[in-house]
């Protein structure tokens, strides 16, 4: 009797606990739902002016790279064709086609997630040759300027070069003629090239990067900066001031390796506008990403692998057993009556669309109207099935009227009533009537209050974000829920309300 139930409970708890431990210890799942990460909403909009021939606008788009993830990309291309190109490490969006006399508006938007930097496995990039327009004799004296730093590790060499760009050449200072030559070179080729050449001379792989500063902004232009490989990672340098950015680097690269962000063939781009907005990513996406990129068995069988539109359903579905557990508690431990066994759970599900106050109001509104009509129908002495059909029809009519009323008043909640479980409503009206007839209005109202109470509690549980996430990440928790349900099934003690019912006995003992 009692033993198999206990064994079952222990087994369920053990399995549940074992799978969770495996996930936490071996798969490194977080025990608590993780803190939300920062995301940025990037959008770009521009007008394309056409030329005589087919116009192509090539725009550098952000790509997934270290510490940065791109998702939810959307393209607006109007009548133009859109294609995506890869040029080295760059992603280039190409809008092409014949542009009429009127400008064509193109757009792009994406969600960019900035993640804490992780160990980055990247091969050391090759040291590129000097730019072709740098003469051999220039290379020679520039090489002399930096030669004394050769023994230093790359990160320190970068710092020396950056200081030199600010005018601090360190001790001992280079010879005057070299400095003069450098000054002339700097003026002739421009600061950016000079910087890159100096880095090249110091043996540091570097590239020109174009992108946006990561800040809430609306801007028409991009920025350029330099990224320098220092053996482990790319460091970003502000070329004008020669400053090295400290991580987290507040920059969003669009194109690297010297490629310009915007290139247009046969036409021009005007009113380019880049917008960046800060947002908080939902915790769902973060879990989603980590699990999508894993090939462990439990990760491959995770609910996160479901298509997203189904995930939403399962987030809720997986909490329904807790609602059932609440009903077990209320009925078997407290002893409070409810209409039907699972009516409150279905009500709670419906409340998710209508909201709690409206949902409860509408629900009991329909039941009350139904009750009045049911009383009156009783005189007609209809047979059971046709009678229930009449009430069902009435319920549908009520719901329809509510929806129409909602439309007039602009209340979405009233229109969402279609999702109330109408069959359950019908049975509730019938049960409400029967209980009123047989046991009086008080008992009926008590039952109604019990049902509404559980529905509200269940609704609260279903809407609990962290709980949803926890169960979604660890679906094996359902086994633990089942264990508690089995335990409740074996609870043979008194119900709380029985203390009241049998209160006459307390005194006698």
């Amino acid at each position: 009797m009692k033993r198999p139930a206990t064994l079952l409970v222990v087994a369920l708890l053990l399995i549940s606990f074992a799978v969770i431990s495996y996930r936490v210890i071996w798969l490194k799942y977080p025990i608590l739902p993780p803190a939300p990460a920062k995301v940025w909403q990037l959008s770009m909009e521009a007008h394309v002016k056409g030329g005589e021939k087919e116009t192509s606008a090539m725009i550098g788009l952000p790509s997934a790279r270290r510490g940065q993830l791109v998702a939810e990309e959307r393209i607006h291309s109007g009548t133009l064709n859109f294609s995506l190109l890869r040029e080295g490490a760059n992603r280039i969006g190409v809008w092409s086609g014949a542009v009429g006399p009127k400008d064509e508006v193109i757009g792009y938007s994406a969600t960019i997630q900035v993640k804490p930097p992780r160990p980055f496995k990247n091969r050391t990039p090759p040291l590129e040759p000097y730019p072709p327009n740098v003469e051999k004799k220039d290379q020679a004296f520039i090489r002399r300027l930096v030669a004394k730093w050769d023994p230093l590790p790359p990160a320190d060499r970068l710092r020396r070069v950056a200081a030199a760009m600010r005018g601090f050449w360190g001790i001992p200072p280079p010879e005057d003629q070299d400095l003069q030559a450098w000054s002339a070179f700097h003026d002739k080729h421009g600061r950016m090239t000079a910087f890159l050449v100096l880095l090249r001379a110091a043996g540091l792989p570097a590239q020109r990067v174009e992108g946006l500063p990561l800040a809430e902004s609306i801007t028409g232009s991009t920025q350029t900066w330099i990224e320098v490989w220092t053996g482990q990672e790319w460091e970003s340098v502000q070329p004008e001031r020669g400053e090295i950015y400290q991580p987290p680097v507040p920059l969003l690269p669009l194109t690297t390796n010297g490629l310009p962000v915007i290139r247009v063939i046969n036409g021009e781009l005007s009113e380019v506008r880049w917008t960046l907005n800060r947002g908080i990513i939902s915790q769902w996406r973060m879990q989603f990403d980590r699990i999508m990129h894993s090939d462990r068995l439990l990760d491959r069988w995770s609910l996160f692998r479901l298509p997203e539109e189904f995930q939403r359903t399962f987030r809720i579905l997986i909490l329904v057993p807790i609602g059932a557990l609440m009903i077990c508690l209320l009925r078997n431990i407290v002893g409070f009556p409810t209409f039907g066994v699972f009516l409150p759970v279905l009500m709670a599900l419906a409340f998710r669309n209508t909201g709690l106050a409206y949902g409860l109001g509408i629900f009991w509104g329909v039941v009350l109207i139904g009750y009045v009509v049911r009383r009156w129908i009783d005189k007609l002495r209809l047979l059971l099935v046709p009678r229930l059909s009449v009430i069902l029809t009435l319920v549908i009519v009520c719901i329809t009227l509510f929806a129409l009323l909602g439309n007039k008043l602009g209340l979405r909640e009233f229109m969402a009533v279609g999702l109330l479980p109408f069959v359950i409503l019908t049975m509730t009206i019938e049960r409400f009537f029967v209980i009123t007839e047989e046991s009086g209005a008080r008992e009926a109202l008590r039952t109604a209050a019990g049902s509404a109470g559980v529905a509200v509690i269940t609704y609260g549980i279903l809407e609990l974000g962290p709980l949803q996430l926890t169960f979604f990440v660890y679906p094996e928790l359902l086994l633990a829920v089942a264990a508690v349900q089995v335990l409740l099934g074996r609870y043979t003690g008194y119900r709380l309300l029985e203390l009241l019912r049998f209160r006459k006995f307390w005194r006698s003992s």
Binding site: R381, E438, G489, Y494, E498, R501, F502, F505, S508
Partner: protein, 319 residues
């Protein structure tokens, strides 16, 4: 401390709903036997096979087609009861106490024409009074003329006696007295008064009305205690024998006492209510446990079981 009341109840031996369901109904009452008690007609036929007295059966109506011959079927029965076979909680029962030119006189004094009675029976056949809404059968049986002992504490209707029988041993009983509120019905949840009975000698104890303890009938204002239930031993014997005919070890047996015919078995209940404990001011659990502890010999025959009950469960004079 919140747990204290739980201990008190346990000490008195009150049986709670959860324990009743898990430890007694689920354990002792096999599902397969339920149809026999849920259908009054089947119970009646079974009782007749075991020579347990029940109110005489007049007619069974199974199909709507038989309604055309209703007048002929009723013959010249002056008084009778119409019941749905699978009705619950006393619903759908009509007591006819006599006939007039206009039709039939109901218990309440109201006259219903033949046409309305036919309508009511066809309602029963359609399953309006059966809980699951299944098609049902209607039957006519003799009207019980209740024993006069309870006349003073009955407001219309017929009082009945509920006995809880555990493993063939009657363990607790009460008499259920109709009130004005209960509309002549003897069901506690409809507002009848339940009065506990001293198992040892068949005299009544205190009553429970709704959830309060009462000493007097709410309508007739007469005391409910100290009434001697007639035929007490044969009542207990019928209850004890009920288990022989059906495999239910936790059973509610409902009987009536007819003035002329004596105790008659009315129906059986596989899920007897727990309010009986309040009417008796005693816990069922204690009695069930003492049955479990009783020597094997006492279960041999219904007679021995009843003798054991009379000796064991005599309620001391209550305060």
């Amino acid at each position: 401390m919140i747990l204290k009341p739980f201990r008190w109840l346990r000490d008195v031996g009150v049986l709670g709903m959860n324990r009743r369901n898990a430890e007694y109904i689920l354990r002792f009452n096999p599902r397969s036997s339920f149809p026999l008690v849920d259908d009054k007609l089947k119970t009646k036929q079974l009782a007749e096979a075991y020579q347990i007295p029940t109110p005489p059966l007049y007619r069974v109506i199974k199909h709507h087609g038989e309604m055309a011959r209703l007048e002929e079927m009723l013959g010249d029965y002056q008084d009778f009861v119409v019941k749905p076979a699978r009705g619950t909680g006393g619903s759908g029962i009509v007591l006819v106490t006599g006939r007039t030119e206009g039709g039939f006189i109901k218990q309440s004094g109201e006259v219903i024409p033949m046409k309305d009675l036919a309508y009511h029976i066809s309602d029963i056949l359609s399953g309006i009074y059966s809980l699951e809404g299944l098609e049902d059968r209607a039957f006519l049986e003799a009207l019980v003329h209740p024993d006069t002992a309870f006349d003073a504490v009955t407001y219309r209707g017929v009082p009945d006696i509920r006995i809880i029988v555990y493993r063939g041993v009657p363990v607790m009983s009460m008499v259920r007295l109709p009130t004005r509120v209960s509309d002549g019905k003897a069901n506690l949840h409809r507002g009848a008064v339940g009065v506990g009975i001293n198992m040892g000698n068949g005299t009544t104890l205190l009553g429970v009305y709704r959830s309060a303890i009462v000493t007097h009938h709410p309508d007739t204002k007469k005391p409910v205690a100290g009434i001697q239930v007639r035929h007490w031993e044969s009542i207990l014997l019928i209850a004890a024998r009920a288990v022989d005919m059906i495999n239910l070890d936790f059973l509610g047996v409902d009987l009536v006492i007819d003035r002329d015919r004596g105790p008659l078995l009315l129906e059986l209940n596989a899920r007897p209510g727990l309010q009986i404990q309040v009417a008796n001011q005693a816990g069922l659990l204690k009695r069930l446990e003492s049955v479990d502890k009783a020597p094997r010999e006492i279960f041999a025959t219904p007679e021995i079981r009843v003798a054991w009950v009379l000796e064991t469960f005599a309620t001391p004079v209550s305060s």
